[in-house]
């Protein structure tokens, strides 16, 4: 049964509605006999009280019946247009993220005291990343975000949602306690890709990997990542938080494999250099990402300023309109109607307790 945005779960219960007329029937028991009303004053307030009592009784029965019928607004789908993307934030929760970053003015610091300065003035990487991500989420109200932490394994925190408050809370929750022991990028990426499966493609998809270290991935994992990203058309952005003395993923690391063929010493030397670099986890991961058939971007950040720039860059990259249907489930209003009934009953009890029951 539907009445323009209003329906009843059990409309047959409305058949009981005529019961609401019961209090209007005058019974002998509900009033006291008095020999003559002629000499009693006509009391307007009293008349009002009598009316209120009957009205409350009618309302209590009517609203109870109505609540039993289960009124509610039916399920609807609303087409929403968002700008931007579905962004899965995949954040490293390992202990290395608790290490501090270089202060913003690191260039003016004596290199000998840089380590000391970092220790005293630097901001922990995870904290800087959290602050910026939280600002990033706040600036992009139209995007849908999901949040996943990982260390030894992936930790689902927030599924895809447009309710930013939840995402913010999730990001804040990442600051609890100390980091965990391990960094297992492969498993985390696979889990992140899996969240996109079974979802309708409504706009650009991004996995924003926020970590400070790389990993060597074995061949089955690489295969799953490659195929998963391709099948789900997910772009990968790596926010690389560089620790002091960690490898820089510059032109050298990004270079394609040397074209040197053959057994000449130079060629062997070039290949060896290339593969020696491969042993560095970050470089290995970067090269694997570059080999992926999907969009891949690397943002390196040494200090909070670089990080802010990188986050802004991600924001610029993803600004396409995005259409999606939001399903608004059926909302049951019977609780409110029951509350009205309960209120009426309570008032009726008060009314009844005020009633004169006998002349004695």
């Amino acid at each position: 049964m539907t009445l323009s945005g209003f329906d009843f779960a059990q409309p047959w219960a409305l058949l009981l509605l005529p019961l609401a007329a019961l209090p209007l029937l005058r019974r002998r028991g509900d009033s006291l006999v008095f020999p003559t009303l002629a000499w009693l004053p006509d009391d307007r307030l009293g008349r009002l009280m009598g009316f209120v009592g009957r009205a409350l009784a009618v309302l209590a029965i009517a609203s109870t019946v109505l609540a039993l019928a289960g009124p509610g607004t039916p399920e609807t789908t609303v087409m929403r247009t968002g700008r931007g993307a579905e962004i899965m934030i995949l954040m490293d929760r390992s202990r290395s993220m608790d290490a501090k970053m270089k202060p913003s003015d690191w260039r003016s610091i004596d290199p000998h005291s840089l380590l000391h300065q970092m220790d005293s003035r630097g901001q922990p990487k995870s904290e800087a990343a959290r602050d910026l991500l939280s600002a990033f989420v706040e600036r992009r109200p139209d995007d849908r975000f999901a949040l996943m932490f990982f260390s030894a394994g992936p930790m689902h925190v927030v599924p895809f949602t447009q309710h930013d408050a939840v995402v913010q809370a999730g990001i804040r929750a990442g600051g609890m306690g100390r980091g965990l022991s391990d960094t297992h990028v492969g498993r985390a990426l696979v889990a992140a890709i899996e969240t996109f499966e079974q979802r309708a493609y409504t706009g650009s998809r991004i996995i924003l990997l926020v970590t400070d270290g790389g990993a060597h991935l074995d061949e089955p994992t690489r295969k799953r990542i490659r195929e998963g990203l391709k099948a789900n058309r997910v772009a990968l952005h790596w926010l690389y938080l560089r620790t002091l003395n960690a490898p820089e993923l510059g032109a050298e690391a990004s270079a394609p494999p040397p074209a040197a063929e053959g057994d000449s010493m130079e060629a062997i030397e070039a290949r060896n250099v290339y593969h020696a670099q491969e042993s560095v986890p970050e470089v290995s991961l970067h090269r694997f990402f570059m080999s992926l058939p999907v969009t891949y971007r690397l943002y390196q950040a040494d200090n909070p300023d670089d990080l802010a720039k990188a986050v802004a860059e991600v924001g610029r990259q993803q600004n396409f309109p995005l259409d999606f249907d939001e399903r608004i489930p059926r909302q049951d209003h019977s609780r409110a109607v029951f509350a009205v009934a309960a209120l009426c009953c309570a008032l009726l009890l008060i009314h009844r307790s005020l009633l004169l029951r006998s002349w004695l």
């Binding site: 009033s31 008095f34 020999p35 009293g46 009280m49 009598g50 004169l356």
Partner: protein
């Protein structure tokens, strides 16, 4: 059924003479054996040598033998007219009808003591023939009358019932009690009192305490009129209570004024029947 353990009696004497032939206790208009001297008559006119007054005969200028003639005290007929309408079925502790029955029982005993005949007539919207007891001197009727009143079913009534009863009465009764709460329009009551002008009328105004005195606690009172079944809801509060009391006082004043205009003094009976108060009432009336 509540019976009064010991039936209270009251003493009554009519303040006026009654025309009745039967010897009794009230001042009468018939001559006979009494204490009250009227005049002397000739022995030939009234051949009663027991009452020959020698001293008066000697003083007589006509030379007749004079006989003292006395007024005989008489027994009268008493009628109790009892309202058994629905409003009499009301009472917080005891119904007004029970009080009326108490009164009739007491009256029956008192009337028997002084040798008066007592009749009972009840009415609601018309005379209730089933409750009528013709005026008799029988002693055993007290309980019968009281019980029949206590057991009777009430019905909505009004002044029409009283009018009906008064018109049916023979005009030979000397003392008439009207037991009612007088919850009816007063303009027709005057005519009824005029019809009863030959008798000594005692209106027994029977009210319950719950009627005259509003409940002390503040409350919502949903009330239904006993006679008309009309409804009214009152919110009892100090202002309303004073209005209630004022209304009762006004009604009392109206009744008083009407009865005084007909040279009748009402007997107010609220809550219980006090036989001594009734005795006092007659003492004051006879004084």
């Amino acid at each position: 059924m509540t019976h009064v353990d010991t039936v209270q009696e009251f003493h009554y004497r009519l303040p006026q003479r009654s025309a009745s032939a039967r010897p009794g206790a009230h001042p009468g208009s018939s001559l006979g054996s009494g204490q009250e001297f009227v005049s002397h008559m000739s022995l030939y006119d009234r051949p009663d040598p027991r009452r020959l007054d020698l001293r008066a005969s000697l003083r007589s200028t006509t030379g007749d033998w004079l006989v003292r003639v006395n007024r005989q005290r008489v027994g009268v007929t008493v009628q109790a007219l009892v309202d058994v309408s629905a409003s009499m079925d009301f009472g917080a502790q005891r119904r007004k009808l029970d009080l009326a029955a108490d009164f009739v029982e007491s009256l029956a005993h008192s009337a028997f003591r002084v040798g008066d005949a007592l009749g009972l007539r009840a009415f609601d919207h018309a005379e209730r023939i089933d409750l009528t007891v013709p005026a008799t001197l029988s002693r055993g009727l007290a309980g019968v009358m009281a019980d029949s009143l206590r057991r009777c079913d009430t019905a909505p009534g009004g002044i029409e019932g009283l009018e009906d009863v008064v018109q049916q009465m023979g005009g030979r009764e000397s003392l008439v009690f009207i037991v009612s709460d007088f919850h009816w329009p007063l303009d027709r009551l005057g005519v009824v009192l005029d019809l009863l002008a030959h008798a000594f009328v005692v209106p027994v105004v029977l009210w319950d305490r719950a009627e005259t005195e509003p409940p002390r606690s503040d409350a919502i009172a949903a009330l239904r009129d006993a006679e008309t079944a009309a409804r009214r809801t009152l919110l009892l509060r100090p202002r309303l209570r004073s209005q209630w009391r004022d209304a009762v006082a006004t009604r009392r004043g109206e009744l008083d004024a009407l009865f005084t205009a007909h040279d009748v003094r009402p007997f107010w009976m609220t809550g219980h029947f006090d036989a001594d108060a009734m005795s006092d009432y007659f003492l004051e009336a006879a004084a």
